[in-house]
């Protein structure tokens, strides 16, 4: 009996020590794995912009954002945020396809969304980002220039379809392509006016991956990109038989099955007029 008591005591002690250990929580670094692009500020708040690479480039850009109160140094946990990118060209200005900014579920301070930059900055033309947000019933705004250089490989196709609609098609995945069957996804928008770029629904995007350096070698069993429901990304399967430089030739097909842009690679047609590029 004495022994039993002794063992019980030991067990209790052990359990207690374990539980105190596990309750000793470290503060969670919610931006781990992300790199800061830049900070935008106004008099009351500063907004930190993050991405996986720490930069922006032409094409689809997923961004993470958090707001900090400058006086309390506390991060904002709840806010209504809107963003608006604007390209300042020499003669005109236009916006870009973008998502809403929404809180990342399961985090305390992070918000996310994407912006599709159709064109890169240059010496005289630049992108500008404004953020409008409301906190506790009060509206605020801040803005700054942002840097959007051209991507190394082509990740976006901006084109006028046979239906005279101006489309923007951006590659989302794969971000880390492999010699395998890759998930490929893309976002398709049309340009309604300089400010508005709604998602195009119920189209189909045909892909034909090719290696121009290898006599236009192609891979089999690729699956065209379709939406699972309206408003979603287009998703398909992309097969890459080896590493290296690949050109993903594209054809965009409307719900009637008519190709609005892009050519089939066959005969003397070595590439489509619209394509993405991957190199790994």
């Amino acid at each position: 009996m004495k022994l039993f008591k002794y063992i019980s005591l030991l067990l209790v002690a052990a359990v207690a020590s374990c539980s105190t250990d596990s309750e000793d929580l470290k503060p969670v670094n919610e931006t781990e794995g992300l790199l800061k692009i830049q900070t935008i500020e106004n008099e009351t708040h500063e907004a930190e912009l993050y991405s996986e690479s720490g930069g922006l480039q032409t094409g689809y850009n997923k961004m993470v954002l958090r707001l900090r109160n400058k006086s309390t140094r506390e991060f904002v946990q709840d806010a209504e945020i809107e963003w608006n990118p604007m390209m300042h060209m020499e003669t005109k200005q236009h916006s870009a396809p973008k998502s809403k900014v929404s809180k990342i579920p399961g985090t305390n301070t992070l918000f996310e969304g994407y912006i599709v930059f159709q064109m890169p900055e240059n010496d005289t033309e630049f992108w500008h980002l404004s953020l409008n947000y409301s906190l506790d019933g009060k509206d605020y705004s801040m803005e700054d220039n942002i840097s959007v250089p051209a991507s190394k490989k082509r990740r976006i196709a901006v084109f006028q379809g046979t239906d005279d609609v101006k489309y923007i098609l951006a590659l989302v995945e794969p971000t880390n392509p492999k010699i395998a069957t890759n998930n490929i996804s893309a976002a398709l928008f049309r340009m309604e006016n300089m400010e508005s770029f709604p998602v195009v629904n119920n189209y189909r995007i045909l892909i034909d991956p090719r290696m121009p350096g290898m006599d236009n070698h192609s891979s089999p069993n690729n699956v065209p990109l379709i939406q699972s429901e309206a408003g979603e990304l287009y998703k398909g399967k992309l097969n890459l038989t080896m590493s290296g430089y690949w050109k993903i030739n594209l054809q965009v097909e409307n719900p009637e099955g008519e190709v609005v842009k892009g050519e089939k690679v066959e005969g003397t047609t070595e590439a489509s007029s619209i394509f993405f590029e991957l190199e790994f």
Binding site: K178, I179, A180, T181, M211, G213, M214, D215, N216, H217, S218, S219, P220, N221, N239, L240, T241, M242, S243, G244, Y245, E279, F280
Partner: protein, 666 residues
């Protein structure tokens, strides 16, 4: 030329043992099933061998069961009964070894040298199933060993020169043997430049250099127990393959084993032998020697094999029983890296063999039954299990591009059985055999990824879910032997179900620049192969001999279309003279035109040819030291020709003069 060939052919033939010695297994009327080719310059046979320092490939090529696929001057690929690597089993002292090259540039036979070997025994069809599942047959190359004799020290040197290709050969051996210990070591070096085809046409990229070292040692543990270890190290460098778009900068093999033998371990067991072995091959294929290629590439390959066998032999009242339990584990990995012409682009990489692990375990049993003085019955059977697993995850993912549902692992059972009846009465002997065998697809057939075949110009893709290939085989032979005459005719027929062959898939896009398309390994309903062989020997008088042989094979698929690489009517005949320490030989070999060829495989009609070879040999004794000198001329009339098995019709060697010297120091 042709006339001479015919005269020689029609003349009575005589003893064939100049090219292939049939070994006496016992003194009864038992007919040995295996053809034995004695290799190198060892023992009494040496004098009869035309060119003692010939390559292993040239020795094997002399067998009527074997033909060699030639992609250059080096590393020919043996076919047994017209069937190449994937349908045959080639072993070295019972050890399984697997080539590391996806383009078949390194058959197992390329990793040994004549100085290592004493003989090669060739088994046709299911008679060769002892060391693994086969369809066409097997070759077991036996390492040279003096064994536990009282022969003491033995040192020999050999050297050779060949005019065509400037091949230089140098070899040395050092043997020591006593009753309880022996050590045999040897070294051989060959170096050849490009050879010239008939008409003095240089065959580019046909050079090679090869070094080979081997050591075998034995220790007697007790009167009945011995332990033997062996090591072969082989390295070939700068090997050119004129028939292929790439060469080999280095092919290296380490082959080791440890064997335990026990005589009469039990009353009813005569002999028990167990061996464990390991071999490792690294094969570096590249195109750095080629000035003009569409794209630079490296294609290294690796193959490691671990294995063992344990076998017992016993004799019981007219039964000779053998049981062999064997197993191996092989790892085959090959990759390709291409360097883009645009220096800003990244290298292109793929797994061509995705680290395939093959694990085989099987048991083989054989019973030779002596029914009466004239009649013997041979029964054999084997059962094995083979597992293939793709170890490389990227490799598996790349194959899943073609086969999304493909499993990582594939298991199969391989069974074989054969029986052979042998009747020997007076001057006649007859054999009649039937066999059944299965084989698993090879690594390339199952898992190859864009392997370019330069013969048909297609990239090949493996298919992981191929069924076993199943062969039913019939064979027969009739022989007649009289004092000075010997004649033998034999034939075999293979009906192979699920015959594996690459078939074009027009929907797939080739990877290799300039390729004709992509073939995927598929299975034909069946294919049949028919092999015939006739040999005649005649002893004219005590000095003069005549022998000859003729071979004709036929191979058709289920649509009666020709199979690739099928031997047309081929003949060989020789007239020999021997007196004292001198011998000489004149031989003619040739073939009729290959009219049954496979267009789909890129073959065309190979014209008829005949070449004449002359040789002479003299043994000299200098201060009790024996020296053998052999000189000869091959392709005397410098004929330009290629055979059915010359890859892409590359021409064979033109006139070649050779000198071989063997010198026994003591």
């Amino acid at each position: 030329m042709k006339k001479l060939a015919f005269i020689l052919l029609l003349c009575p033939f005589f003893r064939n043992d100049l090219v292939a010695q049939e070994k006496e297994i016992d003194t009864t009327n038992y007919i040995p099933m295996k053809e034995i080719i004695v290799i190198g310059d060892k023992g009494a046979v040496s004098q009869k061998t035309v060119k003692s320092l010939a390559t292993v490939d040239e020795y094997l090529d002399r067998s009527s069961k074997i033909s060699m696929i030639k992609r250059g001057a080096y590393a020919w690929e043996p076919m047994i009964n017209g069937m190449a690597t994937e349908r045959t089993v080639i072993t070295i002292d019972g050890m399984r070894i697997f080539s590391a090259c996806t383009d078949k540039m390194d058959p197992v036979t390329s990793y040994v040298e004549i100085s290592n070997l004493s003989e090669a025994s060739i088994s046709s069809g299911q008679e060769g199933a002892e060391y693994g599942a086969t369809i066409g047959g097997a070759v077991n190359m036996e390492l040279h060993k003096t064994g536990f004799t009282e022969s003491g020290w033995n040192i020999g040197l050999s050297s050779g020169l060949e005019s065509n290709g400037e091949q230089k050969i140098a070899g040395a051996k050092l043997d020591y043997a006593e009753d309880s210990f022996f050590l045999n070591t040897d070294f051989m070096y060959r170096d050849a430049e490009n050879y010239y085809a008939g008409g003095n046409q240089e065959v580019q990229y046909s050079r090679f250099t090869k070094y080979n070292f081997s050591a075998v040692s034995g220790l007697r543990l007790s009167e009945h127990q011995t332990l033997q270890g062996s090591l072969i190290f082989d390295k070939a460098t700068d090997v050119g393959y004129p028939a292929l778009p790439m060469d080999v900068s280095s092919a290296e093999a380490v082959i080791t084993s440890l064997k335990y033998e026990h005589h009469k371990p039990l009353d009813y067991i005569d002999h028990w032998e167990t061996k464990i072995y390991f071999n490792s091959i690294e094969h570096i294929m590249d195109d750095s020697q080629r000035p003009d290629v569409p794209i630079r590439m490296d294609m290294p390959g690796w193959s490691d094999t671990y294995g063992f066998y344990s076998k017992i032999n016993t004799s019981l009242k007219g039964h000779e029983i053998k049981v062999n339990l064997n197993s191996f584990y092989n790892k085959s990995l090959a990759e390709m890296t291409m360097f883009p012409n645009d220096p800003n682009e990244k290298e292109m990489f793929m797994f061509t063999w995705p680290d395939v692990r093959t694990f085989y375990t099987g048991i083989f049993m054989e019973d030779r039954i002596r029914l009466n003085d004239y009649l013997h019955l041979n029964l054999s059977g084997s059962l094995g299990s083979q597992t293939n697993r793709v170890e490389s995850k990227p490799g598996l993912q790349s194959l899943r591009i073609f086969y999304p549902e493909m499993a990582e692992k594939n298991q199969r059972v391989l069974a074989a059985a054969s029986s052979k009846l042998q009747l020997q009465k007076k001057h006649f002997s007859y054999t009649l055999g039937i066999g059944y065998g299965e084989r698993a697809p090879s690594v390339s057939e199952g898992y190859g990824f864009y392997l370019f075949n330069s013969f048909d110009g297609f990239d090949y893709i493996g298919k992981p879910r191929l069924s076993n290939e199943r062969s039913v085989e019939l064979n027969t032979s009739v022989g007649f032997t009289k004092k000075r005459w010997s004649i033998k005719a034999s034939g075999s027929y293979f009906h192979i179900n699920n015959y594996i062959l690459g078939k074009p898939d027009a929907a797939l896009s080739p990877m290799t620049i300039g390729a004709n398309g992509v073939k995927v390994y598929e299975q034909l309903e069946y294919a049949s192969l028919f092999n015939t062989h006739l040999s005649l020997d005649f002893l004219i008088d005590q000095h003069w001999n005549f022998n000859g042989k003729a071979i004709y094979n036929l191979g058709r698929d289920h649509n009666n279309e020709n199979l690739p690489l099928v031997q047309p009517f081929t003949y060989y005949s020789a007239l020999q003279f021997q007196k004292g320490f001198f011998s000489a030989e004149a031989a003619v070999e040739g073939a009729l035109k290959q009219s049954d060829f496979s267009e789909e495989f890129g073959e065309n009609e190979t014209p008829a040819y005949a070449v004449v070879n002359l040789s002479a040999s003299q043994i000299l004794y200098l201060n009790q030291q024996k020296m053998t000198i052999k000189v000869g001329a091959e392709n005397l009339f410098d004929t330009y020709y290629s055979t059915f098995s010359d890859w892409n019709n590359i021409p064979r060697r033109g006139r070649n003069l050779f000198v071989n010297l063997n010198y026994v120091v003591f």
